[in-house]
């Protein structure tokens, strides 16, 4: 996977255009036909599509729906093999029969976010006004816009109230936004490894990623699709930098230490001598197979702009949840330095001040931010326990179908 000549990332797909999303499996719902979606920027988004997947049966009362919100580079294929990579869904460990988000019991919905690149309208999709991909003409979107789009989908599905909205990382931002905007539409909310605003450090990391993409000559000012190119190197570097922030010093050390990659000694060159280098290059090169560079720009921007206290609380986070009937569960991980426990505590503090029902658990792990995607028994125990307890309060039958 490493090039023999130097330290750059070879992707093998650098020149081929991204695979079209039209052929992807799953549900598509066209929204905003009559009334365009008014975005936070002031722009209007006319007809747009949301691509989504479901797992488990919807009960007759339509009361057992769980909306799973994906993270920055996730998509709607949460609990099934990914149609592009063939790898298991990103939350296969958590969603399924008998798993914490039990599809024998809950109707799980996962939708690709607005601005995404797996079928929901975003920069790589065609602008109906021009018949060409949006590219950088796509309006800058926010977490609030993503949630507004999801709410239209939930409306279209005839679901009065979501039993639970769950998400980690950027997904957690969406959960907070959901609970703040539409408290009457959400019974329970699970905020995992999240924050009520994106920190300066996190904005800084995102900027590094975006600069890597835009510095790639194949990015072509965002119009790579016109030239049959892809800024695969830039996107891969963005992913490599970001991937480091998802792990922890200890996890990296545990996995790789200073071990060398298929060699006995260092080569006194810039090849991937170390396993950790090889691993990161692999992360970069597999990522570009499934992700669109402009989408990466838009979605990281949406996270950067997220500041719930400012947007919905006049500077006071508790105001964003005043009188909230939603039952919250907030989870953080000890070794997560991207969305550290202090961020979750800020959320919990605000929810307490707003007298909302909130549980908070800090899970001990060395897996870093990525812990929410892994098999963390204590986390899963809390997640399934919280959902089970909430289901009892919501009056959900143990099994919606016989």
């Amino acid at each position: 996977m490493s090039s023999a000549t130097g330290g750059t990332v070879r992707t093998g797909v650098a020149a081929s255009p991204a695979p079209p999303t039209a052929g992807l499996s799953g549900h598509r719902t066209v929204l905003g036909r009559e009334t365009p979606l008014r975005l936070a920027s002031g722009a209007n988004l006319g007809t747009f599509t949301v691509a989504w997947q479901t797992y488990g049966p919807l009960n007759a009362e339509r009361s057992n729906a769980v909306l799973v919100c994906h993270a920055l580079t996730g998509d709607q294929f949460a609990a099934e093999p990914h149609p592009v990579t063939g790898r298991p869904g990103w939350w296969d460990l958590a969603i399924g029969p008998g798993k914490p988000i039990d599809t024998d019991r809950y109707y799980v919905i996962c939708a690709n976010v607005l601005g995404g690149c797996m079928g929901t309208t975003g920069p790589r999709e065609t602008d109906p006004a021009t018949g060409e991909p949006y590219g950088l003409t796509f309006p800058v979107i926010t977490i609030g816009d993503m949630v507004a789009a999801q709410k239209l989908l939930v409306d279209a599905l005839g679901i009065e109230r979501l039993f639970c909205v769950i998400g980690g990382s950027m997904g957690a931002m969406q959960v907070l936004e959901w609970a703040s905007r539409y408290p009457e539409r959400v019974f329970a909310a699970c905020v995992i490894a999240g924050a009520a605003r994106h920190s300066a450090q996190n904005i800084a990391f995102h900027e590094v990623g975006r600069q890597a993409i835009m510095a790639d000559p194949e990015w072509c000012g965002g119009e790579y699709f016109r030239h049959g190119k892809r800024p695969a190197r830039g996107l891969a570097v963005a992913r490599m930098a970001a991937h480091i922030t998802y792990l922890s010093d200890r996890a990296l050390h545990r996995k790789f230490g200073r071990s060398l990659q298929d060699r006995q000694a260092v080569t006194f060159g810039f090849d991937a001598d170390f396993q950790v280098e090889s691993y990161l290059r692999h992360q970069g090169s597999t990522f570009v197979e499934r992700f669109d560079a402009n989408s990466y720009l838009y979605i990281t921007r949406a996270m950067d702009y997220f500041d719930l206290a400012q947007d919905r609380g006049n500077g006071v986070l508790a105001n964003a949840f005043k009188g909230s009937p939603v039952r919250f569960c907030v989870v953080s991980f000890t070794s997560d330095w991207l969305f550290p426990t202090a961020e979750s505590r800020t959320v919990v503090h605000a929810l307490n001040a707003a007298a909302a029902a909130v549980s908070f658990v800090e899970v001990e792990t060395d897996a870093g931010h990525d812990a929410f995607l892994l098999d963390e028994p204590e986390f899963f125990r809390v997640l399934s326990g919280f959902l089970g307890g909430a289901a009892e309060l919501a009056g959900l039958a143990r099994r919606p179908v016989a």
Binding site: G98, K99, P100, D102, D104, R105, R327, C329, R345, V348, H349, N352, A353, A355, A357, V358, S359, F360, V361, E362, V363, E364, P377, E378, F380, R381, V382, S384, G385, F386, G388, G389, A390, A391, E392, L393
Partner: protein, 211 residues
């Protein structure tokens, strides 16, 4: 991976917890400070229909409680209580946690800021057997009261019934009721414990409120 909801726990709980539960009005708003695995909170939610919340320091306790569907926050009670607005609760419970509090005066003030009533239970350090152990053996008494050897105990405030009453007086806290538990679990209800109660009671449960 478990997906089942643990059933509500049994209707039988420890004597001191039952005495606390008896002081809590049905359907009230309750915060249990130092709620452990949520045994008492679970009882209150299921059998008294309260809107219950908890704070607990130990991660194991919090996981257990949340897995039972309770709203419990992991953290140090002494800092977390400050988050709540005044009068957020009808009852705030401090069950067997008082000995582990660093700033007891501040904690009692906080309990009665965020709650209309507080229920405080603690092991009585003036219980005659403990006095005797100290007198006869000259060693830190009864591991039950320290929960660990003297050098490792989380219980840093060894309080007696008389001390608690004196502090309540100092802080202008109104003592509504006291229930005392003797060696064999014998329960005595008194308006205000006296010298002899301080000798005989192994544990005490106080219902207090703002004056």
């Amino acid at each position: 991976m478990m997906n089942r909801t643990p059933p509500p726990r049994t209707g039988t709980i420890r004597t001191d917890l039952q005495l606390i539960a008896d002081m809590v009005a049905p359907s009230s708003r309750v915060l249990d400070v130092g709620c452990g695995d949520g045994t008492l909170l679970s009882y209150l939610v299921h059998f008294k229909g309260v809107d219950g919340r908890g704070i607990e320091l130990s991660p194991e306790g919090v996981s257990e409680a949340v897995a039972h569907g309770l709203a419990v926050i992991q953290g140090d009670a002494e800092s977390v209580v400050a988050d709540y607005p005044s009068d957020a609760f009808d009852f705030v419970i401090l069950s067997q946690t008082l000995p582990a509090i660093y700033d007891v005066r501040a904690m009692l003030a906080e309990l009665l800021r965020i709650g209309r009533h507080a229920v405080v239970s603690f092991p009585n350090f003036a219980y005659w057997r403990l006095r005797a152990q100290l007198l006869v053996n000259g060693r830190a008494p009864d591991s039950r009261i320290l929960n660990a050897p003297w050098y490792a105990t989380p219980n840093i405030r060894l309080v007696t019934i008389a001390d608690f009453l004196a502090l309540a007086g100092q802080l202008g806290v109104h003592v509504e009721r006291a229930v005392l538990i003797g060696r064999s679990g014998r329960v005595r209800r008194v308006a205000r414990p006296g010298w002899f109660d301080n000798l005989r009671a192994e544990q005490a449960v106080f219902l207090i409120s703002r004056d």
